[in-house]
């Protein structure tokens, strides 16, 4: 049996979280020692029948009360600020991050790499490359958790959530489902393998060849008949989807919406919920006709057409300072 105290630090963000933890532990140690020490000392010194001076001042002191109200408040605000800043960065991936698709279902993780390669309960990642996970669930709520990276995000049915990281250490790490999802929740676990970039490229080419989500998405765009209306039809007027991703879409009845992945998804499954201004609500729902995998592929295709014009504009790019020394290109 081993008894580790800290988990490995496998990503650039892990160190930041650990630093906050160390500060919190120091604060916890200080206050519990002061309180416990005072309790033990007073209980000993002022034990009943011990002849000591018990002549007291008042049973209240406004100065003390203010001091021990304000001090914890200031300490709290300090921790809040540091931890919130780190969290904010954790929630905002850089625009150039490589995108991996994750689908959770009871009780497995299905992964697809941008080049097309698929795996189950295993995630292979190249070192030093910012990776963004686009995740959804086919059934209940799961949670994608890599302790060595100190990151976690619930994975929901009907919604896309994201997580991003920069793996910084070669090795293999636990992947856990951390949101209770039924009988075999404890077996919905897997392994994250961080490899050197050449090793990752080699690994991508091994095994069965699979189409990349963008290629697959392009096929689906025709197969489901999307292209019939959205690619310049004379009969039915539908908005062009070139460059739609990341743009601000004006809505029927006023208001706008940022065309992110969730918007594209909702527009396919619940087309009448948000109608683009100037168009008629004629699109049928594809709910029940398209699998989560295909939906992600279709969205990957939509993101690929016209990206670079105004795509990604809505997303802030906050990166770790360390990453500047280790610039990486999104593949493929």
């Amino acid at each position: 049996m081993t008894f580790p105290v800290l988990p490995e630090e496998g990503s650039l963000g892990a160190r930041e979280v650990d630093n906050i933890l160390v500060a919190l532990v120091a604060m916890a140690f200080f206050f519990s020692t002061v309180i416990a020490g005072a309790i033990v000392w007073f209980s000993f010194k002022y034990r009943r029948n011990n002849p000591v001076n018990r002549v007291r001042s008042d049973a209240h002191s406004l100065k003390l009360e203010i001091a021990w109200t304000v001090l914890p408040l200031l300490i709290g605000i300090g921790f809040f600020t540091v931890a919130a800043a780190t969290y904010f960065r954790e929630r905002h991936p850089p625009a150039a991050a490589m995108e991996i698709h994750v689908i959770g279902k009871r009780w497995m993780w299905k992964i697809q790499h941008p080049q097309g390669k698929r795996e189950i309960n295993e995630v292979h990642l190249p070192i030093g490359v910012p990776v963004r996970l686009l995740m959804t669930s086919q059934d209940v709520i799961h949670s994608f958790y890599i302790p060595a990276f100190r990151i976690k995000q619930d994975v929901l049915p009907g919604r896309y959530t994201t997580l991003w990281m920069v793996p910084s250490k070669i090795g293999s790490y636990h992947l856990f489902c951390s949101q209770y999802c039924g009988t075999d929740h404890a077996r919905m676990i897997g392994q994250v393998t961080v490899m050197s970039r050449p090793d990752y490229q080699t690994w991508l080419t091994t095994g069965e060849h699979a189409e990349s989500p963008v290629v697959r998405g392009a096929q689906l765009f025709r197969q489901f008949g999307c292209s019939g209306c959205h690619a310049g039809s004379e009969v039915i007027r539908a908005p062009s989807l070139v460059g739609v991703y990341g743009s601000t879409v004006p809505l029927d009845g006023g208001g706008t919406v940022l065309a992110d992945e969730q918007y594209l998804r909702d527009s396919i499954l619940l087309p009448n919920a948000q109608i683009v201004a100037g168009y008629a609500p004629v699109m049928p729902s594809f709910a029940g006709h398209i699998s989560e995998d295909d939906l992600m592929a279709l969205i990957a295709y939509l993101k690929s057409i016209g990206a670079g014009q105004n795509g990604e504009s809505g997303r802030q790019s906050l990166t770790y300072p360390e990453r500047a020394a280790n610039p990486a290109k999104a593949s493929p």
Partner: protein, 557 residues
Amino acid sequence: MNTPEIQAHPAPEPVAEKSYLSEHTLRSWLLTTDHKRIGILYLLSILLFFAIAATAAALIRLELITPKGDLLSAEMYNRMFTLHGVLMVWFFLIPSIPSVLGNFILPIMLGARDLAFPRLNLLSWYLFMTGGCLALWAILWGGVDTGWTFYTPYSTLYANGQVITMATGIFIAGFSSILTGLNFIATTHKLRAPGLTWFRLPIFVWSLYATSVILVLATPVLAILLTLLAVERIWGVGIFDATRGGDPVLFQHLFWFYSHPAVYIMILPGMGVVTELVTCYSRKRLFGYNFVAGASIAIAVFGFLVWGHHMFVSSQSPYAGMIFSLLSYIVAVPSAVKVFNWTATLYKGSIALDTPMLYALGFIGLFTVGGITGLFLAALAVDVHLTHTYFVVAHFHYIMVGGMVLAFMGGLHYWWPKITGRMYPEQLGRLAAIVTFIGFNLTFFPQFILGYLGMPRRYHSYPAEFQFYNVLSTAGSSILGVGYAMPVFYFIWSLKRGTRTGANPWHATGLEWTTASPPPTYNFAVIPVVTEEAYCYPEPAGPPPKDTSGAEEDRHA
């Protein structure tokens, strides 16, 4: 005018009044409207639920000795932690101090003859038992494996078993909470003895009042939520179902809108009890009375504004997360103020480490650890790593067990002579308190480390590297079990054999110590008049009258 003195000597025993325990028929118990008897009914009922839930916890800990799932099947394990959570939260912790000790002591502390609505009080107990029996029925016939949190869409679309029966049981028990809260609020407003102004109230009354406000305001949200859950599960209307345009996260918002304030329902009364104990066994006025009283109210108010800190990784907006994180740091401040004031109360006191005091000091220490680790979880980036892990389990057990259970045990020992008229064996009492403290820390401290290492909650099996801390935790739980079991035996023993006590064995202040032990049915033959502030212990502290040998020394300056 008959003015009972609340000084450090026993009041004369009233002779004419019969004790509330003098009737022995089953009917006299089941149809009683006496708040003291209803308190006893609650005590027996919650101990039953505690025993069942503790057994489930023992099975969970046994299963976790080894990394593989070998003792229980995965389904059975999931049912066990659901059973443990549901029974402990709704059928033990929430009613523990308010419905048992509060019921018994509150009216006497106020100088009243009963609660404002005695029959409503009995109805509360019957509702509680109806809910409890439904929950037990759900466990025996099919079980429930959703966890006490009932997250959708698992609970609505996927879980087998008696989800609806369990939810109905909790729904009904919720009404018992609401009625008890109403009763306490009305009693505190209307039945205080002459002269017992708000700022002369014992802090226990303040904290019960704050608890009651939360019970009345938050529990209806739970009732609404459970109704929506049942509607969704039976008719599939789609409130929480993403495939029908619903939102599973909406459930979590509603759930924590109730359940976070419910955490304060589970700790505020404990803070009240500890205040009574710390002052009594230090023989000293409470330091900063107004701040301690105000802190209870502040906790009750801010407690309603922090529910989103359970949902930092749920897909909630990061901006909402920041507001909830900041508010969580703010809600910690009144708790810290209380801890500092209790500690300052000890300074220059005359401290006796009797059993209730040991529990109270244990409470302060463990509550401090539980509170500070709450600040770890309120820190956004750290919470992303720690939430859903054993760190959370350790944190809330430090509050719920290290805090509330120790306070309940301390209060039960403190008022035991008042309730029964008999004293428990002091040495055994101290031993049990120490064993509980050691067992508790050994059980739950390793779980902080497990959590930071990344072991998720609700895991039936786990990677082998986590075994060391799990074995420690299970070993600790067996010691904790001994600490819990000891009082059961010596309390029962003391009912027949314990030495009889007078009205005020602890030489404590407070109206409950001016009436006989056990109290007469109507508590007070003549309604007392209060002329002093709470905790008016003599200054500087004199020795207790029973032990005059130290008198000179104590006054030595």
